[in-house]
């Protein structure tokens, strides 16, 4: 199995995601929504497992590989959110974003090989990245919701919609915290120290603090809805810098151990 067969897995899983999103939007029966999304996840997950086996290492090293996980976790985060809070738009969003990331991997394939440097060969590696990707997926949902509330929705923002945002952020932040701390524990085992203010770590801290800012602001000023929503967008920009932006940031180039090729 290699990336050559990705297109078949990708398109068939996206077809099922679209089906699930469509049924959710139309308010059809739950079981049909769950089943189609789960089949899609099963297909994409099957591809990940297959390349994991054939690469003989977790496929988490390159940016393309993290995008693959992201496109898997978006629909998963979407369906979990749907099960819990029944937002009928969430699956449309997660499907669309997942499709975007799948397209990036289809049209801009990277060179994938088997090598994995010894420091990355650790049982901490998969949970660290997977949990982070899941957090990014949820926080991506929160970002889209805030864009919708700020600019697309013409009527006044309801408290219920703000609560939706709060829920997404606290779940995303919980996962982000776990990802960050897994990273710290791993770093101690592999590099000798749990936190060294490496540029990636610095930006992870910035992102983390800015979502904390959102949560505290919401609790402190529940009636002010615009400012926290804007801050959510800024936080997502920080998140992007942390994820891939530091590869282009002059201050970080050449001084981070978290550089992907």
């Amino acid at each position: 199995m290699s990336w050559d067969s990705f297109i078949y897995f990708a398109l068939s899983s996206v077809a099922f995601f679209i089906l699930g999103a469509f049924f959710a939007w139309k308010g059809r029966k739950s079981w049909i929504i769950y089943t189609s999304t789960l089949i899609g996840l099963f297909i994409l997950g099957g591809f990940i497992v297959n390349i994991w086996i054939s690469f003989e290492r977790p496929p988490l090293r390159t940016m393309g590989e993290t995008r693959l996980w992201y496109s898997f976790f978006l629909p998963l985060a979407g369906i979990i959110t749907y099960v819990r809070w029944k937002y009928k738009w969430i699956l449309c969003f997660s499907t669309l974003l997942s499709f975007v990331f799948i397209c990036v991997n289809l049209f801009k394939p990277e060179i994938h090989n088997k090598t994995l440097m010894p420091a990355l060969q650790s049982p901490w590696f998969p949970p660290h990245v997977i949990v982070y990707m899941f957090a990014y997926a949820i926080l991506g949902a929160a970002t889209v919701l805030s864009i919708y509330l700020l600019w697309i929705k013409k009527k006044e923002i309801q408290e219920k919609e703000m609560e939706m945002c709060d829920n997404l952020v606290s779940v995303g932040l919980a996962f982000m915290t776990l990802g960050m701390l897994f990273g710290a524990l791993w770093a101690k085992e592999a590099w000798g120290h749990y936190w060294t203010w490496d540029p990636k770590e610095t930006w992870a801290a910035i992102t983390w603090f800015s979502y904390l800012f959102y949560i505290h602001y919401r609790k402190g000023f529940p009636s002010n809805r615009q400012i926290p929503l804007y801050f959510l967008l800024i936080s997502f920009v920080f998140l992007q810098i942390c994820w891939w932006g530091i590869n282009y940031l002059p201050a970080a180039i050449g001084s981070s151990i978290h550089t992907y090729n």
Binding site: D166, S170, F175, A190, G192, H193, H216, K219, G220, P250
Partner: protein, 413 residues
């Protein structure tokens, strides 16, 4: 409306208070200079922690009388402190930091942010707020406060102990040759320290990934690749493949090879001594022009030069050095307390003994797999258990946060 106005005023006060802290920090930076972290070792750091805790507790006890302390426990204080923390950490993220061993400080010290007074003071301010809200949630204790306490106390403990314990961390590297013993380590300034441990290196071994073939530009030496293939990994079963427009056939791969110069060419034979290189006999056919080239390609070693196969005027096939898959050292270790331990150390699997962690740090890279020495890193961090206690609390807090998110509000309704 009134509450909102008071809150906004509190927030403005918080932002101004933060600005005051930054100004004080700048003043300190200009007068006493950057923070000398190396001075804050045991027992000074312990004293500072105790002093800090006492200050917090006193403030907490007299909270009814001190308005400022009550303000510290409210959201506007936390929000404004977070805003300043984000701002200063952003500066750290956006400026190129100078390595610790260089003395120059750049503009106002922001290029060594970690010893920049405003940065430190703003984090102290955040820690003080954390301490205060933890105290107010601990007494009286309620089970439903547990997630809150995990999150806030965890961050407080991890942050304070990691910062103040940092100067107590000892990091030394040690280079040991096979068959020899060593007990001295070098710190980052290159000063030799005696360790309470002695290491005898019995064996050092490297597993490498299979050799690869790739096409490089004759002019720049850079790898030329298209979307599909960059290199051809010469695993056991692989005998052919494609690189760019070239069909590649590999007829002979020797992982322990030495070149033998013949009258008009070079041949590679099996050779198992130190310094042996990797070689492959490669036949390349251009799928458009049908031009055919063949010859040996070798990665070279510290003993032998590399060998490339010239394809045309612009490109050649080369074999880059093999990448390490795993490297490890078999050691015998003696401690001052008389313990004798046999162990194998590899990357991601450090050895823990008498408060020290011993890491596989490197080897003689010039010799590669024939390296006859191994580099270890010794780390001593007496505050680690405390930092870990904080980290575990934060993890527990995160799990709680996931589990209860959205529940509270539902209950309220």
């Amino acid at each position: 409306m009134l509450i909102q106005a008071i809150k906004s005023r509190n927030l403005v006060f918080g932002l101004l208070f933060g600005a005051g802290i930054v100004l004080i920090g700048l003043f300190l930076q200009l007068t006493v200079g950057a923070i000398e972290w190396t001075c804050i070792t045991y027992p000074i750091n312990i004293c500072l922690v105790i002093f800090f805790l006492i200050l917090l507790v006193i403030g907490y006890i007299f909270r009814a009388r001190i308005r400022f302390v009550r303000w510290m426990g409210q959201y506007p204080a936390a929000i404004s402190a977070l805003a300043w923390v984000i701002f200063l950490t952003l500066i750290l993220g956006l400026t190129k930091q100078i390595p610790e061993d260089q003395s120059e400080n750049g503009i106002w010290g922001i290029s060594s942010m970690l010893s920049f007074w405003p940065f430190f003071l703003v984090y102290c301010w955040l820690a003080s707020i954390l301490g205060m809200v933890v105290l107010s949630h601990l007494f009286p204790f309620r089970w439903r406060h547990l997630p809150f306490i995990f999150n806030h106390l965890g961050l407080f403990v991890a942050m304070v102990s990691a910062t103040l314990g940092n100067a107590d961390v000892k990091q030394l590297t040690m280079n040991v040759h096979v068959g020899q013993s060593e007990w001295r380590g070098l710190d980052k300034d290159g000063i030799v320290h005696d360790l309470p441990l002695k290491i005898c290196l019995k064996k050092f071994s490297i597993d490498e990934y299979p050799p690869k073939l790739t096409i490089v530009s004759n002019k720049t030496g850079k790898v030329l690749f298209d979307k599909k293939s960059q290199n051809l990994s010469l695993e056991k079963s692989v005998t052919q493949g494609a690189l760019l427009q070239w069909e590649i056939q590999v007829s002979n791969v020797i992982l322990n090879a030495a070149p033998v110069e013949l009258a008009d060419s070079i041949n590679y034979i099996k050779w198992f001594s130190s310094g042996a290189t990797n070689a492959a006999y490669v036949k390349a056919t251009n799928s458009f022009t049908k031009v055919h080239k063949e010859g040996w390609v070798s990665s070279g070693s510290f003993l032998f030069p590399y060998q490339a196969l010239l394809l045309d005027s612009v490109s050649s096939i080369v074999m880059p050095g093999r990448e390490p898959k795993r490297y490890s050292s078999e050691i015998e270790l003696f401690t001052q307390s008389g313990k004798k331990v046999n162990a194998e150390i590899e990357v991601n699997k450090p050895l823990k003994i008498d408060g020290w962690k011993i890491y596989q740090y490197g080897y003689d890279e010039e010799k590669g797999r024939w390296s006859d020495s191994s580099i270890f890193q010794f780390v001593y961090d007496p505050w680690l258990p405390v930092v870990y206690a904080g980290i575990y609390m934060m993890m527990a807090g995160a799990v709680c946060m996931f589990a209860i998110s959205g529940k509270r509000k539902e209950e309220r309704k």
